[in-house]
Symmetry: C2
Subunit: 188 residues, 2 copies
DNA sequence: CTCGATTGTCTAGCACTGCTAGAATTGTGC
DNA sequence: GCACAATTCTAGCAGTGCTAGACAATCGAG
């Protein structure tokens, strides 16, 4: 009876243990070094245990991505809350770029590794929440343009700056000027 | 004497054969299915031959990326050349997006797989040429902003639209509105 | 034309990967 | 205490990137 509940609780606990371990390993040595064997060693269980929680390695990456999206949403919320009136976009942009360099492995999991995450109509709630945060910042600046499409363009620009900047494809010394130009384009 | 030259010619020929095969396989079934064994089978040589041309699998991906960048540059040039006065940016944007959906594997090789390509001061010539094409379109629109930084922001926005759109993270039905907004932001 | 030497290529294998069937162990309810 | 059920582990498969050493083909010298 009650043992059943304890079991499920322990299972859930172990699941987050796996996700956290995967994340830490990826952040430390890159996703390529996150192998099922090392992960199993790290949590001190054998490999099949991992497969009783996740369909495969990819599903673990997806779980890290999902957790990362939730975290990103919170980061957005905090940035928006802590910004001076009119400074929301700047705060959001800074938060996005900070996240991309502060947690590169999670960023990679979300935007280039995750494959099993549904993104269309039936996207997970946490994903819609993240977009809602972006929308809250961009929509007021849309003017007579479609607020949703405007948000997507803003997101794309921000994401491009983060993604290209992250792997050294943009001149580091122009970072501030890029940000200024970005703000000028979208906040005007 | 002359045989030496013939040898080198044949070697170069075989090298492009490898790169083309890798590209075709990636475009057909994704990069994950491009294994050294299958690649060797395809070109009808044994695996070690591949390693006499490239340092490893990653170097082959890089070669495809480099070839793709050269191609992308040509696409940019053609778009700019064929555009009506004032329509250069729209043509460039369309070309970029078309390339990302028309050759997704090459796009992936360039922007998420390539690891050995130097990007900073000593970037390969073909890479600088690609950026020069972008610069030629964006710089005239920079106004009093730094043309280089402005180009980078424009590129980032374009790249974000392509990258996020490519894996279904943007609403397909808003594609045209996004493009219009993008053009309005940068061409104004 | 013949014969070593050099160059090129291949066979076979290593260490590793994700993943899984079946044995062994643990804990549960009677 | 015991049969049963759930859980975990051992051992192994097929496939990966990569490489040492055997083999074959080509070349230059006599």
């Amino acid at each position: 009876m009650a043992t059943q509940q304890r079991r499920e609780r322990e299972r859930a606990q172990r699941e987050t243990l796996i996700v956290n371990a995967a994340r830490e390993m990826a952040e430390a040595d890159g996703w390529a070094s996150v192998t099922v064997r090392k992960l199993a060693d790290r949590i001190e269980y054998s490999q099949p245990v991992l497969y009783s929680h996740f369909a495969g390695r990819g599903a673990i990456v997806d779980a890290v991505a999902l957790q990362g999206i939730a975290e990103l949403t919170e980061v957005f919320r905090a940035a928006r809350a802590g910004a001076a009136p009119g400074g929301e976009l700047a705060a959001l942009a800074q938060a996005y770029l900070d996240f991309s360099v502060g947690s590169p492995a999670v960023f990679e999991a979300i935007f280039t590794l995750a494959e099993g995450l549904p993104f269309g109509v039936d996207a997970p709630e946490v994903l819609k929440a993240a977009f809602a945060e972006l929308f809250a910042v961009f929509a007021p600046l849309a003017g007579d343009r479609d607020p949703e499409a405007f948000t997507e363009v803003g997101w794309a620009a921000l994401h491009g700056l983060a993604a290209l900047g992250r792997d050294g494809r943009l001149r580091p010394d122009l970072l501030e000027q890029r940000l200024e130009i970005f703000l000028g384009l979208f906040a005007a």
